[in-house]
Symmetry: C2
Subunit: 208 residues, 2 copies
């Protein structure tokens, strides 16, 4: 996904390049030349597929990231009976990806969110939708696990926030420790939240 031209169509290559670079350096930190070089595409083709230029491409990358995350969460939810273990698998994957990229690739959402101004309506709208979608996914997973809806929404917000905050700390520390610590505490607590409601869970196992 990160590598050279896997030749899946120019448009998709542009989105993939933008997505990768957004995670590493943010929207203002990269030039169109960086994106074009990484996608092996000339400038004209960018404005052909994305008349809105840099911002429109960034929005596409954000939406692609959400779609990817949704697909992965759905798959995990189908694979694991215990929702907490599904969450654990999700966080483990994030940690692995972070380590594989030498702690340079995190979330493409957080960086753009912090760079954006109130004047950047399009970006803000896309980001609001993206964060809302992810929270909704997690809320569904949690309430399906027996957490009360209102509470589930609160926990989902916390999970998203803690996740982003963990990536930030791991990135500057150059260590997976923060992500590990946060995941451990968070999942432990989430399991507590579920206990009172339902007791029909797997034979209880902490992470490997």
């Amino acid at each position: 996904m990160t590598s050279i031209d896997d030749v899946p169509g120019t448009r998709d290559r542009l989105i993939a390049a933008m997505s990768d670079l957004l995670q590493r350096r943010g929207l203002h930190g990269i030039g169109l030349s960086d994106v074009l070089a990484q996608a092996h595409a000339p400038k004209g083709v960018l404005y052909h597929h994305f008349p809105g230029g840099k911002v429109e491409l960034a929005v596409a990358a954000i939406q692609a990231a959400v779609a990817y995350m949704k697909a992965r969460l759905d798959r995990l939810q189908a694979t694991h009976d215990d929702p907490v273990q599904a969450l654990r698998a999700w966080l483990d994957h994030a940690q692995k990806q972070l380590e594989q990229s030498d702690f340079e690739r995190g979330s493409p959402l957080a960086t753009v969110a912090l760079e954006s101004t109130a004047a950047d309506h399009v970006l803000r709208q896309a980001l609001a939708q993206a964060f809302g979608d992810i929270r909704e996914l997690l809320t569904g997973l949690l309430s399906q696990a027996g957490v009360m809806p209102v509470r589930a929404a609160q926990l989902a917000t916390l999970m998203v926030g803690a996740y982003e905050g963990a990536l930030i700390q791991s990135r500057v520390a150059g260590s997976a420790q923060p992500v590990r610590d946060i995941a451990d505490v968070l999942l432990e607590w989430v399991r507590c939240e579920m206990k009172p409601k339902t007791d029909q869970q797997e034979p209880e196992s902490t992470h490997p």
Copy 2:
């Protein structure tokens, strides 16, 4: 603090301007011209006080932010008997500042952290130190409250992460709801962590 030239010396004005702009738009999102205009200073004076240019000024702003936060946390710790209430006051203040700036001012650390590359040694070093300092402060507060040291360190990491993640979500949502939700859940849980160790707490009151 945010306002016009309060004339506390050019150097401090530059730091204040950089600090404000880092929170709003990040390091790459602002030009030196923005900083200089906001500080009412010509370009020469910047390179006189900060020969390292933009980056050195950013580092100074980061360090100033940490010092400010440390001073505030110390004060809160002295004011409140119940450490959880001190944390509550801390988070309430953050929420208030966020609302007062129309959700545009968050943390100057997170943005720069996400924009920085492994090649930006100076920035990374300053950020690692900054996050480490803040975690240390919170760890101290928590262990003083009776939480076991190792556990306190984990919780501190989670608090910092959740705090940053809350600011991100509130910013794009244009609402204080995420910050409120996260603060509520977090403090509730932290109080749980303390209960088993010590029982000598104030007559238990949730936030106003």
